[in-house]
């Protein structure tokens, strides 16, 4: 379970005054649940995700508690947190093939042997009927293929939670529904909590939360 408590994000202005960007009193996401954060751009949705991920935010000051399955994450590095991510663009490293990306994702945490890792990745690609893309570079993939393989790689890293930032906005409408449904199925199957940011209601799933006039995040 992912818990965020008493979070406040302030943006630093030039005369080093802090202005409140976003506040979140309490959010819990159950394993297998997807929570969608909605709101117009510029309200700090992505900043929230970056904070959860553990990125260093030089232009902001933050306070708040972050727990994952009872672990306190606030002092942990990105690598230690075990949170996967899927962004609008660039989920795959452009200088590696699909195979290399998949194996690269598994290497740090997987207890499987190398050949088992290959098998696992191939099996997952097989389910998508994308096996022939194994040796291709990301720029040779179509949009839908790219998104799916990107999520696949993120899941191969065995995350304990997943963050999604506008994951489907680069896809055209027809493909979008298909990829979206597939993605949520995968997340449910992985039984990990997921937090998704989007500005498009059609992409939303499960519980929806929003940023109100007081810059507080509340249930929609």
């Amino acid at each position: 379970m992912l818990n965020i408590r008493n979070l406040a994000i302030f943006s630093q202005t030039e005369n080093s005054q802090n202005t409140l960007l976003l506040r979140l009193n309490n959010l819990s996401i159950q394993p297998g649940e997807v929570v969608t954060l909605m709101g117009p751009s510029g309200v700090g949705k992505s900043t929230l995700l970056r904070w959860v991920l553990g990125e260093f935010l030089p232009d902001f000051t933050t306070q708040g508690e972050l727990m994952l399955d009872g672990r306190d994450l606030s002092e942990q590095s990105i690598a230690q947190r075990q949170i996967g991510m899927m962004f609008q663009k660039g989920g795959l490293f452009p200088h590696m093939t699909v195979a290399e990306n998949c194996l690269f994702a598994q290497k740090p945490r997987s207890i499987l042997k190398r050949n088992e890792q290959v098998e696992k990745a191939r099996a997952m690609l097989n389910d998508l009927a994308l096996n022939e893309k194994w040796d291709d570079y990301p720029h040779n993939l179509s949009g839908g293929q790219y998104s799916r393989i990107a999520l696949l790689c993120a899941l191969l890293a065995e995350p304990k939670a997943m963050l999604l930032d506008e994951p489907f906005s680069a896809l055209d409408a027809g493909l979008r529904a298909e990829v979206r449904d597939w993605t949520f199925k995968q997340l449910a199957a992985a039984t990990i909590p997921a937090l998704m940011v989007t500005h498009d209601r059609v992409d939303a799933s499960g519980r929806i939360i929003m940023v109100n006039e007081n810059k507080e995040i509340v249930d929609a």
Binding site: L53, G54, E55, P58, S77, I78, A79, R81, Q82, I83, G84, M85, F87, G90, G91, F93, P94, H95, M96, T97, V98, A99, E100, L103, F104, A105, K107, P108, R109, R114, N115, Q117, V118, W134, D135, D136, Y137, A157, P159
Partner: protein, 551 residues
């Protein structure tokens, strides 16, 4: 760690060499005969012809190269592969390039011989040909053509960071022609990013000695050329003139750098305010002309290499014959045995100093990345490129003093080369390195890699292209070094370049061409290797297959 390293590198390879050289200049101007220096300044300033041609070369040549490069760069955006055409020209050292140019276009060059062989009108080389063997114009043409590929390469690097294509599309949707959009929207941004490469080009044009010595006028010599000559004359007048001349060069350098810093701003203002002419119907003509220029440029670089090869194989070759009387390997055979040492020295010096230059540049850039606010180009790293070389190297000799006679010269030569490879590597790498997207590093860390592993496994491989290009440029820079190699090496490190320059002093271009060719060959191999590494290896998926098969 990075911080400490970066401080050490800055001290040993930037502060020490530059301040050492400048200190010597200060000392010698305040020595006993400072009154003489004072007079010398007036003497030099009263020689208007020298100053005018110096300024002409240092201002006009870089500007022409710059705008020619910008004009051609639209082709680069449409067909990035054109970039590979630049490698052969970049790898030919300046002097060899100038010689090749003369062999082709001087009054007794190939072009005229061709005319003579067809028409029979020119039993003697013509007089009054626009590109004479010796003139300020000839120097400018050589400089423009040689700087052009460097600037194009710099633009190519910037084009990867400026979303030029989408800007062009958007501007075209407003009704601009593609060329108009290019000059008004993309060019101002490119010029801003070209300020420092342009500074390097300007200072190079101001302080270049070998090209004017070869093809420049010797009665209206350029200032740097005269400073060089005065340095080797031993009367107190000449010595004080050399010092005074070096100071004047520095003052001009500062002035030109200041003007250069205004350049992009002025251009931007012009681009914003200048009224738009009606759709320029000749747009397609301009595009065609650019295409033809690209092709000509490719042919030219090829022709230069061919003519150098022919010259190196010629047993004798007199005007007006189109081809040498006979081709033989005589020169190659007689020199071959003696080429091993200089080739070996050139090679390891270039490999070492290029590798060090790139590594050090990466350390400095990494340090800059870690200080999030300071990502802009650090001018101080480039300072060695802004100081004329003669006083600088004389200063190093003074600095090293006794150490130079203790047989460790290889070390000092490698050090001096690194002083020059570092700023060029930094210049080439800066954009790609500082603007590398943090998201990739974070992504790798989210997978469980440490920050260092992420840097090593994700950032370096992704920056392979700029890293290898920086290496190739640094390699070529090291190969071309003459003064530091000769003066600090004390003959213990003869390189292809020191041999080429001394052989060239005898005017025998058959042997000269041979050395010039070899001198070009090493960087050419590196450039081609880099090009292969960056394109071919990418396409073969052997690596991924290996993973699959070996598992």
């Amino acid at each position: 760690m990075v911080r400490a390293l970066s401080v050490a590198i800055k001290f040993v390879f930037i502060v020490l060499p530059v301040s050492g050289g400048l200190l010597l200049l200060l000392l010698s101007s305040f020595s006993a005969e400072s009154g003489l220096t004072h007079n010398a300044v007036y003497t030099i300033l009263s020689e208007r012809a020298t100053l005018v041609s110096t300024l002409l070369v240092a201002v006009v040549a870089p500007l022409m190269a710059c705008y020619l490069a910008l004009w051609l760069a639209l082709g680069l955006l449409k067909l990035p592969r054109l970039q590979q055409l630049l490698s052969p020209v970049l790898s030919v050292p300046h002097v060899a390039f100038a010689v090749g140019l003369m062999l082709l276009f001087s009054p007794s060059g190939w072009l005229i011989r061709l005319v003579e062989s067809v028409t029979g009108l020119l039993p003697f080389p013509p007089q009054g040909w626009p590109l004479p063997e010796k003139s300020v114009i000839t120097v400018m043409v050589a400089l423009v053509l040689k700087e052009l590929p460097f600037l194009l390469l710099m633009i190519a690097a910037q084009l990867k960071q400026v979303p030029a294509s989408s800007w062009l599309t958007q501007a075209q949707s407003y009704g601009y022609s593609q060329r108009q959009a290019w000059w008004r929207i993309v060019t101002p941004e490119l010029l801003k990013r070209l300020t420092l490469p342009m500074a390097a080009v300007i200072i190079y044009s101001l302080s270049v000695v070998d090209i004017p010595l070869l093809v420049g006028s010797n009665t209206e010599a350029l200032l740097a050329q005269r400073v060089y000559e005065w340095t080797f004359q031993f009367s107190p007048e000449s010595q004080s003139k050399a010092v005074a001349g070096a100071w004047i060069l520095m003052v001009i350098a500062v002035l030109l750098l200041f003007l250069n810093s205004l350049h992009s701003g002025l251009y931007r203002k012009w681009a914003l305010t200048k009224a738009l002419r009606k759709q320029w119907s000749k747009t397609t003509f301009s595009d065609k002309a650019a295409k033809i220029t690209w092709i000509t440029f490719g042919f030219l670089s090829l022709a230069i290499i061919v003519v150098l090869i022919l010259q190196g194989l010629a047993s004798s070759w007199f005007y007006p014959t189109l081809m040498p009387e006979a081709l033989s390997l005589n020169h190659w055979q007689s020199e071959w045995h003696y080429l091993t040492e200089p080739s070996f020295n050139s090679l390891w010096l270039a490999l070492t100093s290029a590798l060090l230059g790139v590594i050090f540049a990466v350390v400095l850039l990494q340090h800059q990345r870690e200080q999030k606010q300071k990502r802009s180009l650090n001018v101080w790293v480039l300072i060695a490129l802004f100081v004329p070389q003669v006083p600088l190297v004389l200063g190093w000799q003074m600095l090293l003093g006794e150490h130079l006679t203790q047989g460790w010269n290889v070390l000092w030569v490698a050090w001096s080369h690194t002083v020059y490879t570092l700023p060029y590597a930094y210049l080439v790498l800066h954009g790609a390195y500082t603007q590398f997207d943090d998201k990739w590093l974070i992504k790798a860390q989210s997978l469980g890699y440490s920050a260092r592993q992420a840097w090593w496994k994700v950032m370096l491989p992704m920056l392979k292209a700029p890293l290898t290009t920086a290496f190739a440029i640094a390699f070529a820079v090291s190969i071309a070094q003459y003064l530091p190699t000769q003066w600090l090496g004390q003959g213990l490190t003869p390189t292809l370049t020191t041999e080429a320059v001394s052989v060239a002093s005898g005017g025998d271009w058959r042997i000269g061409s041979l050395y010039a060719l070899l001198q070009s060959l090493l960087p050419l191999i590196v450039f081609i290797g880099v090009a292969l590494l960056n394109t071919e290896l990418r396409r073969t998926h052997s690596k991924a297959k290996r993973y699959a098969e070996h598992s």
